[in-house]
């Protein structure tokens, strides 16, 4: 019984982390699906989202506003606005001029952007870890009081629900809305979409903005869940989220969700049953293994080589 509770607890931990990976992975997967490039700076956009929400929360606290829903909504909106603008600007400055060039060129531009943004925040806000206030406390507990209890906190529940809601809205948006349809058209054939009167530049910008907004949501949620932020943490999380996107099949939104969850659970089980030291080895090993057998990821479409 106790072992089962322990297992469930580790599963909950893994799913929580996994769903945030999925939220960040969306940004990678959408951009890749549309213009076929890895937006390396996406992790930094997530980090900037977390910083902005912390600045907003601290600012509101200084003004004496403490009503939780208001604080959360204001922080979320601020973070989304700043992150989305950042996503838009990054695309405009670093990616649009190099679009269509040899595929290494946008990638290196992206790595450069990632280093730049990391150091931008580092210089502006210092390299220290800054504590994030604990806004959503408490949770449920299961199991006998005197032995191991499985607990699920409110913040974990919030993360699950938010991720699900975001995913659903995004899926509906992509499949139903006008912009969503245009997105799909652009990802299938950019040139053709252009000919059919779709403003492809606008659609690509929209993709960056949506991805960045979701990253900002993840930034606020994870800031609260973990408890501290620093300028480097976006890079590490971005790497994981990108791994999740590739694992699930880059370009596919359900794939990002699946990849994120698998990665999260794999990490948490490794820490739980082996040792935390090896969790990164396991997640990258898993990635290599899956790509060996399914070179385009779990839900990715097999690439057809066109001549």
């Amino acid at each position: 019984m106790q072992d089962l509770l322990y297992f469930i607890q580790q599963l909950i931990n893994g799913l929580t982390i996994g769903s945030t990976y999925a939220l960040i992975a969306i940004g990678y997967t959408m951009v890749y699906g549309i213009i076929g490039m890895i937006n390396f700076a996406h992790g930094e956009i997530y980090m900037i989202g977390a910083y902005t929400s912390l600045i907003a929360i601290t600012g509101l606290a200084a003004l004496g506003i403490a009503w939780l829903p208001l604080v959360l909504i204001v922080a979320l909106i601020c973070a989304m606005i700043v992150s989305s603008s950042m996503g838009w600007a990054v695309e405009r400055v670093a990616y649009r001029p190099v679009r269509g060039k040899h595929r290494l060129i946008p990638l290196i531009s992206a790595i450069g952007m990632s280093i730049f943004l990391q150091n931008y925040v580092h210089l502006a806000q210092g390299s220290r870890n800054i504590g994030f206030p604990d806004l959503i406390e408490g949770g449920f507990r299961f199991g006998a009081a005197d032995s191991f209890q499985t607990s699920i906190s409110y913040i974990q529940i919030t993360i699950f629900i938010t991720t699900l809601v975001c995913m659903t809205i995004l899926s509906l948006f992509i499949s139903r809305s006008r912009i969503g349809r245009a997105c799909r058209a652009v990802s299938q054939d950019l040139g053709m979409a252009n000919l059919l009167g779709i403003d492809t530049n606008r659609i690509i910008s929209a993709t960056f903005v949506i991805g960045a907004a979701l990253a900002a949501v993840a930034g606020l949620l994870l800031g609260m869940y973990y408890g501290s932020i620093d300028p480097l943490f976006g890079f590490i999380a971005g790497l994981k989220a990108f791994t999740a996107a590739v694992l699930g099949g880059i370009g596919s939104i359900p794939g990002a969700m699946l990849g994120g969850l698998i990665l999260g659970v794999a990490e948490s089980m490794t820490s739980g049953y082996l040792s935390g030291e090896y969790k990164d080895v396991v997640s990258f090993g898993l990635l290599i293994l899956i790509l060996l057998f399914k070179p385009t990821g779990l839900l990715g479409k097999p690439e057809v080589e066109k001549i």
């Binding site: 106790q2 322990y6 607890q9 580790q10 931990n13 893994g14 929580t16 982390i17 390299s127 220290r128 870890n129 800054i130 504590g131 206030p133 604990d134 406390e137 949770g139 507990r141 191991f148 209890q149 607990s151 906190s153 994870l222 973990y226 408890g227 501290s228 620093d230 480097l232 943490f233 590490i236 999380a237 990490e267 948490s268 820490s271 739980g272 040792s275 935390g276 030291e277 969790k279 990164d280």
Partner: protein, 370 residues
């Protein structure tokens, strides 16, 4: 090797020897090497503040053997690669006494060069035992060792008679070193170490670790590492209702841990060197720092001050500026310094360096235990 090449090499050798002699001016260069930039620059600031103050005060009193001390400062960013080039630059500049470096992983490769070049080095901050274990003549420190601090913590834990203790570390030189010393002492003392595990420095999610600690049902958790990770572990442990007391080394005893952990930092145990800036005999010095607008309470300010002072005292005791003579004088003498009485053993470590167990509070203050 052919004769012309040999001649060339000889010629260069001589020319360098002549250049070297040219450096002997009427001043003594004190190299200060540490991180001015980078992630641990805040600790480097302490080092530079302490050493500069000592040089200033010694010069104000007429210098050492009538010669002024001159600071030669270099930034190593706590990067082993840059530390080596800093060490080479020190050699270039004709520096013969160095206060530094800060991070053990920088001190170690740099000290190879200093020892080879006959430069005396005193590190005010590197605590890795490996640095002084290589039989070097010219390497000293003004700080305790991981292998001293670990047992102090472990012995305190043993005195509390716990059932089970978990030892966690951040897989870095400093953290793992102390954690290993704690584990070994605990096991010698007959305490069960239920868990000995590393985490990834820079990680944010410790929910799996906390779950594991709950499962292991431990009374105490010793964490070897720095405050950012421990702060998060404390916070996530409190959320998950982990009922255990945490303990850590001086790397966690920093007010920043309170901004991360909040209430969860209450009751954390920390081993720290005694607060030198609170000693009565150091008050004049503390005032001098405050007049310059600097904070003397950082852990490495007064150890750096002491390092410079020891070099000066050593030169006077040896009546020579030859680093080998000074090293001998340091090993033989007993010196009164702001961090207490300093005596060196043959390895270059202090005979004793005191650590005290403090209890940390959620408002960032601390009280000594027992």
């Amino acid at each position: 090797m052919s004769t012309p090449v040999k001649k060339l090499v000889t010629a260069i050798g001589t020319s360098i020897a002549v250049m070297g002699a040219g450096h002997a001016a009427a001043e003594i260069k004190i190299g200060i090497a540490g991180p001015m930039t980078g992630p641990v620059a805040q600790y480097g600031d302490m080092q530079f503040a302490g050493a500069r103050m000592a040089i200033e005060q010694i010069n104000a009193e007429g210098g050492v053997m009538g010669e002024k001390l001159v600071a030669v400062e270099y930034d190593d960013v706590c990067d082993p690669k840059q530390a080596v080039s800093v060490a080479n630059s020190m050699v270039n500049e004709g520096v013969r006494f160095v206060v530094g470096h800060l991070c053990s992983s920088s001190t170690q490769p740099a000290s190879d060069i200093y020892e080879d070049e006959g430069i005396l080095m005193i590190t005010p901050a590197s605590t890795s035992p490996a640095i002084t274990e290589r039989g070097y003549e010219l390497v000293f420190r003004t700080i305790g060792l991981d292998s001293m601090q670990g047992p102090v913590a472990a012995n305190y834990l043993i005195s509390q008679e716990p059932d089970r203790v978990a030892v966690v570390h951040d897989k870095q030189q400093y953290g793992e070193g102390i954690a290993t010393a704690v584990r070994d002492t605990l096991e010698e003392g007959g305490v069960e170490v239920a868990m000995f595990e590393g985490i990834t420095a820079g990680a944010k999610d410790f929910s799996s670790l906390v779950t594991k600690l709950r499962q292991a049902d431990v009374d105490y958790v010793y964490y070897g590492g720095y405050h950012p990770e421990l702060g998060l572990i404390l916070r996530q442990a409190q959320q998950a209702d982990l009922d255990a007391t945490f303990m850590g080394p001086e790397g966690v005893g920093n007010k920043d841990i309170n901004t991360i952990a909040g209430d969860a930092a209450e009751g954390l145990l920390v081993t720290l060197p005694p607060s030198f800036d609170e000693k009565a005999e150091n008050q004049a010095l503390v005032q001098a720092f405050e007049e310059k607008g600097e904070d003397p309470s950082g852990p490495f300010v007064l150890t750096s001050y002491t390092a410079v002072q020891l070099i000066a005292d050593g030169i006077e005791a040896a009546e020579s500026t030859d680093p080998f003579d000074v090293a001998e004088a340091l090993r033989e003498g007993t010196f009164q310094t702001p961090i207490g009485t300093v005596e060196y053993d043959s390895k270059g470590d202090m005979e004793s360096f005191e650590f005290v167990v403090y209890e940390w509070h959620s408002d960032g203050s601390k009280t000594p235990v027992n």
